[in-house]
């Protein structure tokens, strides 16, 4: 801190943030989110304990009843758990965003010459890491229990689809996080969305066994398509209509929710 600084009046400054700065700031904020995860590893419970616990629990609990055997149930349950944990993980996005926005440090971010979007984009970027952990762990559990996929490439693509769908859904919860008053509110509303979405889909049981009216719901539940697409990839190694529908559906979700979330966020930021 030696010498004189350039006087405020004689600086040439632009009233906008360069695209490079937007990317740079967002990456820094993603780095910050990862640091926070490292400091409080409990934040990873939903993407570590849950895939392990759910896979074991559901496989042995329902395996015999639904498919006659554990090994017979694995092709149904592994894609199901994959989708289920991915969307549950995306729920945390909103809760953590709300908690973060209530912290004193947000006050500083707002007054700094950084891209307005970075404190929102950063956590969403970092979430990709969380979804990937959940996906990798579910695959590992399945593998250990004796589940086999057709080809590693197809498994990778299935994993990508689960992560992508979770990330897209994450924007819905991000919007909740921006709008809600407290983190508990976000938690409550998110759970009310996640549970029907997760269980009333093709994730855990073959849909033919359901009553007619429930089948109708399951058939409009977007998660059903993601689960079917993942199943098809793992079972047959092929890409079908479900894959494209999932991809398009997820993209539409982002195209609708990302701008709204951004707008609401900017209004508060």
């Amino acid at each position: 801190m030696s010498g004189q600084i350039v006087p405020g009046g004689s600086r040439k400054l632009k009233n906008r943030v360069s695209p490079q700065a937007v990317i740079g700031n967002s990456l820094t904020m993603a780095y910050r989110t990862l640091l926070l995860i490292r400091r409080t590893p409990q934040q990873l419970f939903d993407v570590t304990i849950q895939p392990i616990l759910f896979t074991l629990m559901f496989t042995f609990l329902f395996g015999g009843a639904i498919s006659g055997s554990v090994s017979g149930y694995l092709p149904i349950i592994i894609p199901g758990i994959l989708a289920q944990t991915a969307i549950t993980a995306s729920m945390a996005t909103g809760v953590q965003l709300r908690e973060d926005m209530d912290k004193g440090v947000f006050y500083r971010f707002k007054s700094m010459p950084i891209a307005r979007i970075a404190p929102l984009a950063g956590p969403l970027l970092a979430d990709i890491v969380r979804y990937s952990i959940a996906t990798a762990l579910t695959f590992t559990m399945g593998y250990l229990l004796g589940f086999h996929w057709v080809s590693p490439g197809a498994a990778l693509l299935a994993g990508f689809l689960a992560v992508f769908a979770a990330w897209c859904l994450g924007w819905v919860f991000a919007l909740l996080g921006v709008l809600a008053k407290t983190a508990q509110t976000v938690q409550g509303i998110s759970a009310a969305i996640i549970f029907p979405l997760g269980f009333l889909s093709g994730a855990f049981v073959p849909t033919e066994t359901l009553p007619r009216w429930l089948q109708d719901f399951v058939n409009v539940n977007p998660l059903t398509y993601v689960v079917s697409a993942v199943r098809q990839l793992l079972d047959q190694g092929t890409i079908g209509t479900d894959f494209w529908l999932s991809l398009i559906g997820s993209t539409v979700l982002v195209l609708v929710f990302a701008p709204v979330t951004l707008k609401m966020y900017m209004r508060k930021a």
């Binding site: 405020g8 400054l13 926070l36 004193g104 440090v105």
Partner: protein
């Protein structure tokens, strides 16, 4: 200070750090800021002085682009705080009342992230973090998360975070509230150093001695308005007269001394303590007469002193009871 400001005006407008005209902010029915004008010359320490809830922080929030004014406008180095937010943000740094640092991260991590966001490279940000921790005496706690920090340490880290890149205009919202006396003096030294290297400081405070010690100019804020503005000396001169303190040798002389004051100086004296008689003193020459009168009454004095008006008295007079609140503007 007044002459300096007018010279600056004539030179060019950019030498004005902050120019606010008719700033208004309402929250529901509450006009938190109710038509505030401020002109803050570049290179000075400017204090907003006022009680809790006077609107100081709301003014700061508008000047730092955190709140949109409902009326009026404000410029920072000639740049509008509403239309040119991103320019303004490049010219300021803010240290708020609540420490704006991340409690879940370590001191080094906090500073590094702020450095990266301000465009420093990873190695520059790390180096700057080290320097600042050293400067603010936090190097021993560098790796601990702030949850284990004391209030004072957080405040220091907060200020350090605002100084990663030294801004031309630095806002300090109650920078020394809750600090122990030693840390407070350190903070004052930091502030003086910043001004000497070219920054302008806008601080808010409830402490009158702080405004007195640090500020070149003071605006007294009450109920969202500027009720007085000037150098600390001007403000004192506007409100007050000096106070004459007579410390008596014998308690029973109090009544006699008060009568003598009434007779000679023509003002009403008071006895805040048993052995002390105080009176406003307009004309120092008359004090001689008073002392002669006391001698002839055989009232013995232990001590005589003249006290300049303190900013406390100015403050009380300006923000206190409306009936006795003299407004020197």
């Amino acid at each position: 200070m007044t002459t300096r400001q007018t010279t600056v005006d004539r030179e060019h407008a950019t030498a004005i750090a902050v120019e606010a005209r008719g700033l208004v902010k309402t929250f529901g029915d509450n006009r938190a800021v109710d038509g505030v004008d401020l002109t803050i010359p570049s290179g000075c320490v400017y204090a907003l002085l006022g009680p809790n809830g006077a609107g100081k922080t709301t003014i700061i929030n508008m000047l730092t682009t955190l709140l949109k004014p409902d009326g009026g406008d404000a410029k920072v180095f000639g740049h509008d705080v509403v239309r040119e937010t991103q320019v303004v943000r490049q010219l300021i740094s803010v240290t708020g009342q609540s420490a704006a640092v991340d409690e879940r991260l370590s001191a080094t991590e906090n500073l590094t992230i702020f450095g990266l966001l301000l465009g420093l490279s990873r190695s520059e940000a790390g180096k700057r973090a080290g320097e600042l921790l050293q400067e603010f005496g936090l190097q021993d706690a560098a790796k601990r998360t702030l949850e284990k920090f004391s209030g004072g340490m957080r405040r220091r880290l907060d200020l350090a975070s605002s100084l990663i890149v030294q801004a031309p205009l630095i806002f300090l919202d109650e920078p020394t509230t809750g600090l122990d006396p030693r840390t407070r003096v350190q903070m004052w030294e930091s502030i003086r150093r910043l001004v000497s290297s070219g920054s302008t400081i806008l601080l808010t405070t409830q402490y009158l001695d702080e405004a007195d010690q640090l500020a070149d100019r003071v605006a007294v804020i009450d109920h969202g308005r500027v009720v007085a503005e000037g150098t600390p000396r001007e403000l004192k001169a506007a409100v007050g007269k000096a106070t004459l303190n007579l410390r008596l040798a014998n308690e029973e002389d109090a009544a006699g001394a008060m009568a003598a004051v009434q007779e000679v100086l023509g003002v009403k004296a008071s006895t805040p303590e048993a052995m002390l008689v105080t009176a406003p003193m307009a004309d120092p020459d008359r004090v001689t007469d008073l002392l002669v009168a006391l001698r002839s009454e055989r009232i013995r004095l232990a001590a005589v002193s003249v006290q300049d008006p303190t900013l406390d008295e100015v403050f009380m007079a300006l923000t206190g009871d409306e009936s006795k609140g003299g407004k020197p503007q």
